[in-house]
């Protein structure tokens, strides 16, 4: 791995809790990861595993209360952006870090024109005059593949299809040429063909603009197609992280293995029965001092009850896993 390159984004030991009536919910528990320039990091994990909360907490998008960042450090551009003031944080949002959300139907404001909404960050962060902002907005729409861009600036979101709206969202997130783009399940709400088009678009834009991307998804197929590196989350923790090939070839965490087995085989013969991961997602109530996956894990043993496993390097460079169980590949390597 290109370990020498300084990461654009370096998250250390991030903890986020929600204070709710029923007690504290540890939604993100000691998450650490980094993002290198121009890299596409895929983030997978079942619903409620803390993917969105992790990413939103980076730029202060969580409602507080109930959200509270307990600890952690997010290094970006040489400083800890969890500690910058509100003004500076707003400059980071949109200007340096762009965000795309899951549902393009509701993520755009229905009563303002698409042009107005794309021009907002341009005027705010780049100080563009209305005419210049309009020209740039039209360029952006053109860039994300919306035909007749200049005229469509005057249209309202409801006049666009779902896929087109997600393109508008992408144009908006990329308006100020951010260094990092965080895409939170940007294609989940779209049908398969549109999804493929959006993926192509993002690949293409990444080539052209060279920003680093965090791509959250449920879909391992998507990850295989576009990611450089993958981070698997479970119960508010990163349980495994690896370059994309290594993860698919040599998954080490029981959860990752189960996740890969749930993916229908691409090559012709269908699995007789789609495998589901048994058991319930973990409750994130008590402070976890044990492995969050232990109730669903077929490799669980005594230690798993007593100690939350830390991430340790395994296999290929850049591959690490948080599990007490030595997956076979590791054992062979140790013995051999």
């Amino acid at each position: 791995m290109n370990d020498g390159v300084a990461p654009v984004l370096d998250v250390r030991d991030l903890k986020v809790v929600f204070r709710t009536r029923g007690g504290e919910v540890h939604a993100v528990n000691s998450v650490s990861f980094d993002l290198r320039p121009g890299e596409l990091l895929g983030v997978v994990g079942e619903s409620g595993s803390g993917k969105s909360v992790t990413m939103m907490s980076l730029i202060g998008l969580l409602p507080s209360p109930p959200a509270e960042i307990r600890s952690g450090q997010v290094m970006f551009g040489g400083r800890d952006i969890l500690k910058v003031n509100a003004r500076e944080l707003r400059r980071l949002r949109g200007r340096e870090i762009g965000f795309i959300f899951q549902d393009p139907m509701t993520s755009l404001n229905p009563v303002f024109t698409v042009g107005f909404q794309i021009m907002e960050p341009l005027r705010r962060h780049m100080g563009l005059k209305p005419e210049a902002a309009r020209t740039r907005a039209a360029e952006l729409l053109d860039l994300v593949g919306i035909p007749d861009a200049r005229r469509r600036l005057k249209d309202f979101p409801h006049q666009f299809s779902g896929g087109m709206r997600q393109r508008v969202m992408i144009a908006m997130a990329l308006a100020c040429d951010p260094k990092v783009l965080i895409a939170d399940e940007p294609t989940t709400a779209l049908d398969v063909t549109i999804q493929a088009q959006i993926l192509e678009l993002v690949k293409d834009l990444r080539q052209k603009l060279g920003m680093a991307i965090v791509w959250i998804t449920h879909d391992l197929g998507v990850i295989a197609g576009i990611a450089d590196r993958v981070m698997v989350m479970y119960g508010g923790q990163v349980v495994e992280q690896a370059p994309v090939r290594a993860l698919f070839a040599d998954p080490r965490h029981p959860y990752t293995r189960a996740l890969l087995e749930t993916v229908p085989s691409v090559r012709g013969e269908r699995a007789p029965k789609l495998k589901v991961i048994e058991g319930q997602p973990p409750l994130l109530g008590a402070h976890p001092s044990a492995c969050p996956f232990r109730f669903r894990c077929d490799k669980a043993h005594g230690l798993c009850e007593q100690e939350n496993p830390r991430r340790r390097p395994v296999g290929a460079p850049g591959h690490d896993v948080a599990c007490h169980w030595d997956a076979p590949a590791v054992r062979e390597a140790a013995h051999g």
Partner: protein
């Protein structure tokens, strides 16, 4: 939109005609006699002649058509002539006469409108002006002290009847403190600073009572509408773009929240014209509400018919206006 408005206006015509017929027939059935208030010494033959002179001898449909003609042609033309001073507009035809005062109802109503508009209209206007910021802040700072107090006050304002608040205010501010008069002097003419201040002072109490009541309702509505919108995805998008919190709330959220609120405000306007019967009675404001109540007591059928008809037309009209405003404010609504 223009087409829609015209179509709605045309469709309103039969509605209004049916309403007018209902009003006329129902009130025609009511017991009431134009000569009832005359001295008992007047012989029956003379009474009969008076009735005939007022056109009461004719079949009901003939009377209805004549009344409708006076109502929608003669009276508006008279009003127009008085307002513009173009005397040649004034029609020669008969006018609707009040049984009580024997003068045209149009003239009496024209005398009463200013009081009602001043007092009740101001009460509505101030109510709105107070309600909007309270609703916005309450929603933005949900469950804060401000919100709790606001909720309490609006519950009081909403559930305590105006005849109670009115009397309490009179007791405190005119009887004990002597700051404001308890009775509204309709004959007061504003000619200089002094009389202007007297006018302001006599308006304070009735306007406050009405403003409190209206503000209680509208602020609840504003709050609910803001809360609905504050949780929408587009708000998160606006924040993620790095917009100032002020812009997020006062532009993105407010613009959406105002759609239903403006509609409700428009729907409430006819109630301003119909006067606040109770408030007008308590403070002796000689407005339309008081006029209607007196006319009912005196069985002044033409006056009651005319006032009811005007209120009905206003309600139909403002329903239409509310719909049109809705269409203007919400680009998703297509009226064609």
């Amino acid at each position: 939109m223009l087409n829609y408005t015209i179509r709605r206006l045309v469709m309103a015509v039969p509605t209004v005609i049916i309403i007018s017929l209902l009003i006329f027939l129902l009130l025609d059935l009511a017991p009431g006699d134009p000569t009832a208030q005359l001295p008992l010494t007047i012989p029956n033959e003379v009474r009969e002649e008076i009735r005939l002179a007022l056109g009461l001898g004719e079949p009901v449909m003939v009377r209805y058509v004549r009344w409708l003609q006076m109502m929608v042609v003669n009276e508006p033309l008279h009003a127009l002539a008085s307002v513009t001073g173009w005397e040649n507009l004034r029609p020669d035809g008969q006018r609707i006469l009040s049984w009580q005062s024997r003068s045209p109802v149009g003239d009496i109503i024209a005398q009463r409108i200013p009081q009602t508009l001043w007092v009740v209209g101001m009460g509505y206007l101030f109510g709105i002006l107070i309600a909007l910021p309270i609703g916005i802040i309450s929603a933005y700072k949900q469950y804060s002290w401000f919100d709790q107090i606001g909720t309490f006050i609006s519950m009081v304002g909403f559930s305590v009847p105006v005849f109670f608040t009115g009397v309490v205010l009179i007791l405190v501010f005119s009887v004990w403190l002597g700051w404001f008069p308890s009775m509204y002097d309709t004959t007061l003419r504003v000619t200089d600073w002094d009389s202007f201040m007297r006018q302001v002072r006599q308006m304070v109490l009735p306007v406050s009572v009405l403003a409190l009541f209206n503000a209680a309702q509208i602020s609840r509505f504003m709050r609910a509408s803001m809360l609905d919108n504050l949780n929408q995805d587009y708000v998160r998008t606006a924040r993620a773009k790095g917009l100032r919190e002020n812009t997020v709330v006062m532009v993105h959220v407010l613009r959406n929240s105002m759609i239903p609120v403006v509609t409700v405000i428009a729907l409430g306007v006819p109630a301003v014209f119909s006067g606040a019967i109770i408030t007008e009675t308590i403070f002796r404001v000689n407005g339309l509400g008081a006029l209607l109540i007196n006319a009912i007591y005196a069985s002044d059928i033409p006056m009651v018919q005319t006032l009811t008809f005007i209120f009905a037309v206003l309600i139909v009209l403002f329903n239409l206006i509310a719909d049109v405003i809705y269409g203007i404010l919400d680009p998703r609504i297509r009226y064609d």
